[in-house]
Amino acid sequence: MELPPKVKNILLLDSEGKRVAVKYYSDDWPTNTAKEAFEKAVFTKTQKTSARTEVEVTELENNIIVYKFAQDLHFFVTGGQEENELILASVLQGLFDAVTLLLRGNVDKREALDNLDLIFLCFDEIIDGGIVLETDATVIAGKVGIGSTDPNAPLSEQTISQALATAREHFTRSLLK
């Protein structure tokens, strides 16, 4: 317990428990099969619960899992049994809010897949190797959404809408092609 709080994984699954995006920071699940088994167990266990307004929490295989659902997306953050669940919850909330900002409020599977690069970047900005990097949603979204309009602009002066505009344009183009 002398170590800083550690996140073991972040899972973003769809309404059937399939992977949208996941990131593991712990060796507890060494193979893809083990990972999938864990995802399935987590999904089945939480499937019937409602976690649409508040962050919910459960225990599984000596892990604490906090989760929140939105439309057909299920967000999970896992930590060890000794972990402070409120820290995990703040990570989850940060992730959830940042994704909401980045997807302009349309938090569903299709939008997430269309903007998968933003989701990956979002994971990358929240946790680094299991250590909490940032939990403030606006900061995370801001860092992820850095646009190509002015590469020399300092971080703080970039607005999210700017960033989102770039991202939107970026993907509309790729889809219409």
């Binding site: 800083p4 992977r19 508040e54 970047l121 190797g129 250590i131 190509s148 971080l155 889809l175």
Partner: protein, 888 residues
């Protein structure tokens, strides 16, 4: 991989399953990745391809070495693009591809350029990527920039460097330790996250220096930490300091308690929780110290946020194990949680209530739980069942309502684990509460009438065979047992036959009738069942002289003397030959389980429980090793192998530990040596042992180790002769002698012309103690074993153990000294207990079974007294045990 393979053209027809990655295929994406090599980089298209690659990796697809290398090389070309979005994706994919060290060189210069870029985002990310893929030599080159980055005015850059430092500390501690000053500055940062990361890193750097940690904590608790996360860390470190201080005998007022208590009033809930938890986990926490923590947790219980309720009830549940009284104030809030939407919270609330409930509330509680049981999953039910079992042990008078509850749920639907938990609980209750026996056995009988689990049926039949014959009316169980012979599969039938035989043997009046039943079984279709029936018929048909009675009893009821795991290993090692396999050659030592496994099994029921899983290494490893050395074969069978004793400090050049193998008239010392210097090869490694302080031992021979390369452990042996069957003790001083040769670390080859230099290395002393002659052998039922030993031969004495910190310490000291197996879970001592009884069992050299009952008591000044009662098959051994304790 979760996506169905559909042709791309069909994409838009199926709106429901639409995905931009529909029909994506690795080969095609790898082809697409060739755009990275185009002279004119198209940032959008490249980002898109990288996203696809990341998607594939994320779905569990793996790239071959060649594919990964190819992608990596073409990705590096994208550094020429100035597009920031693309650069972010490049960073991401490099981290995912985790290139090998020779490939890393290609990107180092690009990343180093970004590290010094004017764009903050580039700096922060380049640091994180570089630190992820870099090795020690490159790290020294960029160290300067990292130190700068730590104190960068942009918090994102600073955090990136600090977090990278945390990761690098594991691989390159000596380098990261040089950054202390910069990190120290980070703690003063105005940014909350930088402060958090800096504190984490600074603590990690100093973690082995108790004084420094204590100073760090002392300084910060006076209040300069703003970030809630950093405050949580500080609380963790503070409790560590408190623990250390207690361990080092600093008594008096608990330091820093006030700080923890003040954190309970922090505005961030995560800090409040962290502090409350820290307080509840303090060693020997008093109820006065607990009260404020319990109060804030109680407030959390009625929070609208599930996470808060969960956190609170989970913490209170733990507190209830040690301080049930402190939690009773929360009982009303807790009862309303039984119907909580979140089942994890409800289950925790129930089990907490079961722990804190008093005798009068049991019935009401059981009623509430009955309503709740039907709509929760098996795993939650198991937790509840286990809580009920401990409740029953606590309030034996209430066994009736609890037993009714258990038998009701036993009849309902449920999986194997759940049923087993119930059966285990009933068995425990029957064992602990004699009054509950008859009704409990009948519940079990009813259960096996309709039980789909062979394992449970056989276990219950076995248990019936032991407990059934001693009841007031044994005949009523016969019907249930004999029904099994008609209705079940062969395994259960065989178990039923054995059980019948036990009834027949123990209850004289039933014998003729059982004989008839058994005779019917000899026409069974399964040969095991027929064999057993025939065997038991002949046993029961014996003329009943006292002598054979004893033998029959042993045969029917005696347990196998050797642990099954050991028997299995020995059987596997046994090679078919003229010589028959001898059960007596199997080691009787119970192996201690690896720690991880122990943890997992710690909560397992003590009832019927399956035998513990076999540990991977340990004794069987030694057995193979020793039997491979012909010189040792003549010594006979190893009586005991001790756990390894370290003879060097950790992190020295040569790591040596020793294993003591005790034979009847020899002792073999096995020195396990490891060379931790990559530049050296050791040859002719030998251990010179001075046995002048071990009079009864004479050195017979030694086996040197010819060559000891870097990081490949090897063994040297020294053999002593000692008087046969005598537990001789003594002290040995050891010196490691060897010839050192220089080695080129890159090739691992020694210079052929190098003759080497002779050198020696002083090791720590080794003692052979009386405990080495004791093998840990558990008994399944201590009370039975105890009563079967002659009371006449009991030896009792009392000892003063002086002042100790806790009872646990005294118990450990005595059990370590005796080297005996602790039975029936008596190694766990409730915190704050004033007295404790420990049950020990073992086999002393000469194959003498020994049982010990050690009663400990502590007075207010922490003086501990012990009453030691020893029963042994040989009185002289019982005396010897007392001698060991008296001398220790």
């Amino acid at each position: 991989m979760a996506q169905p393979l559909v042709k791309k053209d069909d994409d838009h027809d199926d709106e429901l399953e639409y995905s931009p990655f529909m029909g994506i295929e690795k080969g095609a994406v790898l082809q697409e990745a060739r755009v990275f090599n185009d002279a004119q980089v198209d940032p959008r298209r490249c980002s898109q391809v990288i996203t696809k690659l990341l998607y594939l990796l994320n779905q569990g697809e793996s790239f071959t070495k060649v594919e990964a290398t190819e992608v990596f090389f073409s990705v590096t070309k994208l550094f020429q693009s100035k597009d920031t979005g693309l650069r972010r994706m490049v960073y991401l994919i490099i981290k995912e591809l985790s290139p090998s060290s020779d490939e890393v060189i290609i990107v180092t210069s690009s990343l180093m350029k970004d590290m010094n870029s004017k764009i903050d985002m580039y700096r922060a990310n380049a640091i994180r990527v570089l630190c992820r893929i870099i090795d020690g030599t490159l790290l020294t080159q960029i160290e300067r920039y990292l130190k700068q980055a730590i104190v960068d005015k942009n918090p994102v850059v600073s955090s990136a460097a600090l977090v990278s430092g945390l990761h690098l500390l594991r691989t390159n501690p000596e380098i990261v330790k040089r950054w202390s000053n910069e990190v120290q500055e980070g703690i003063q940062s105005r940014s909350a996250l930088v402060q958090f990361h800096a504190l984490a890193l600074l603590h990690q750097i100093r973690q082995n220096d108790r004084l420094a940690v204590s100073k760090l904590v002392g300084g910060l608790t006076r209040g300069s930490v703003r970030s809630p996360l950093a405050q949580c860390l500080l609380i963790r470190y503070t409790s560590q300091v408190i623990r250390d201080m207690a361990n080092h005998g600093q008594s008096g007022e608990r330091p820093f308690y006030e700080f923890l208590e003040s954190c309970l009033r922090h505005k961030a809930e995560m800090v409040i929780l962290e502090a409350a938890r820290a307080i509840t986990e303090l060693d020997g926490v008093t109820s006065r110290e607990l009260t404020p923590a319990i109060t804030v947790l109680q407030l959390f219980l009625s929070s609208p946020r599930p996470v808060l309720r969960f956190a609170a009830v989970r913490t209170l549940n733990k507190v209830a194990m040690t301080h049930p009284m402190a939690v009773t104030n929360c009982n009303i809030d807790m009862e309303s949680l039984i119907s909580d939407q979140n089942r994890s919270i409800a289950t925790l609330a129930i089990t907490t209530l079961l722990k804190t409930g008093n005798e009068s509330s049991v019935e009401r509680l059981m009623k509430q739980i009955t309503n709740f049981m039907s709509d929760i999953a098996d795993e939650f039910k198991i937790v509840v069942v286990e809580a009920i079992r401990s409740l029953c042990v606590k309030f034996p008078l209430k066994y009736r309502s609890l037993m009714t509850f258990l038998s009701n749920i036993l009849r309902e639907e449920g999986g194997f684990e759940y049923k087993r938990a119930i059966v285990d609980s009933i068995v425990t209750i029957i064992r602990d509460i004699p009054d509950a026996k008859e009704s409990g056995l009948l519940h079990l009988c009813e259960f096996i009438e309709d039980c789909e689990f062979t394992y449970l049926s056989t276990q219950i039949l076995h248990f019936l065979g032991i407990e059934g014959p001693n009841t007031s009316d044994p005949s009523k169980y016969i019907r249930y047992i004999y029904n099994r012979v008609h209705l079940e599969n062969a395994t259960v039938r065989a178990a039923a036959v054995s059980t019948l035989a036990k009834f027949g043997f123990m209850v004289e009046s039933l014998k003729p009738r059982i004989t008839i039943l058994l005779k019917r079984c000899i026409y069974d279709s399964d040969d095991e069942v027929r064999d057993r029936a025939t065997l038991f018929l002949s046993v029961l048909g014996g003329d009943g002289t006292v002598d054979t009675d004893q033998e029959t009893k042993d045969f029917l009821f005696g347990s196998l003397e050797v642990p099954l795991v050991n028997l299995e290993t020995s059987l596997k090692n046994y090679e078919p030959s003229e010589e028959a396999f001898d059960v007596n050659s199997v080691s009787r030592e119970v192996k201690s389980q690896p720690l991880a496994e122990k943890k997992a099994q710690g909560k397992k029921p003590t009832g019927l429980g399956a035998p513990p899983a076999a540990p991977a290494s340990g004794f069987d490893g030694y057995e193979k090793l020793l039997s491979s050395i012909p010189e040792f074969a003549a010594f006979g069978k190893v009586f005991k192998s001790s756990p390894p004793v370290e003879l060097t400090e950790p992190e020295t050049e040569y790591a040596v530990n020793v294993v003591k193998h005790i034979y009847d008239s020899h002792v073999v010392l096995q020195y396990n040596c490891t060379n931790t210097v990559p530049e050296q090869l050791l040859e002719r490694v030998n251990v010179i042992v001075d046995a002048s302080e071990a009079e009864e031992f004479n050195e017979v021979t030694s086996k040197a180790l010819n060559s000891l390369p870097y990081d490949k452990p090897g063994q040297a042996f020294v053999v002593f002769k000692k008087p046969a069957g005598v537990p001789a003790v003594g002290k040995f001083s050891n010196t490691l002698t060897f010839v050192v040769k220089e080695v080129d670390p890159s090739t691992g080859e020694a210079d052929a012309d190098d003759d080497g230099v002779e050198d020696e290395y002083q090791l720590e002393d080794l003692e052979v103690v009386a405990g080495d002659y004791m093998v840990k052998v558990g008994v399944s039922n201590f009370r039975n074993a105890w009563e079967s030993m002659d009371e006449e031969d009991e030896r009792v004495d009392e000892y003063g153990l002086g002042q100790r910190d806790s009872l646990g310490e005294a118990v450990n000291a005595v059990t370590d000294l005796l080297g005996m197996q602790i039975c029936e879970g008596t190694e766990t001592i409730p915190t704050n207990a004033r007295s404790h009884t420990c049950l020990l069992s073992g086999v002393y050299i000469g194959n003498v079974k020994v049982l010990v009952r050690a009663q400990f008591g502590m007075d207010s000044s922490k003086d501990i007294a012990m009453k030691l009662t020893v029963r042994a098959e040989d009185v002289s051994v019982a005396d010897a045990i007392h001698e060991i304790v008296a001398c220790g």
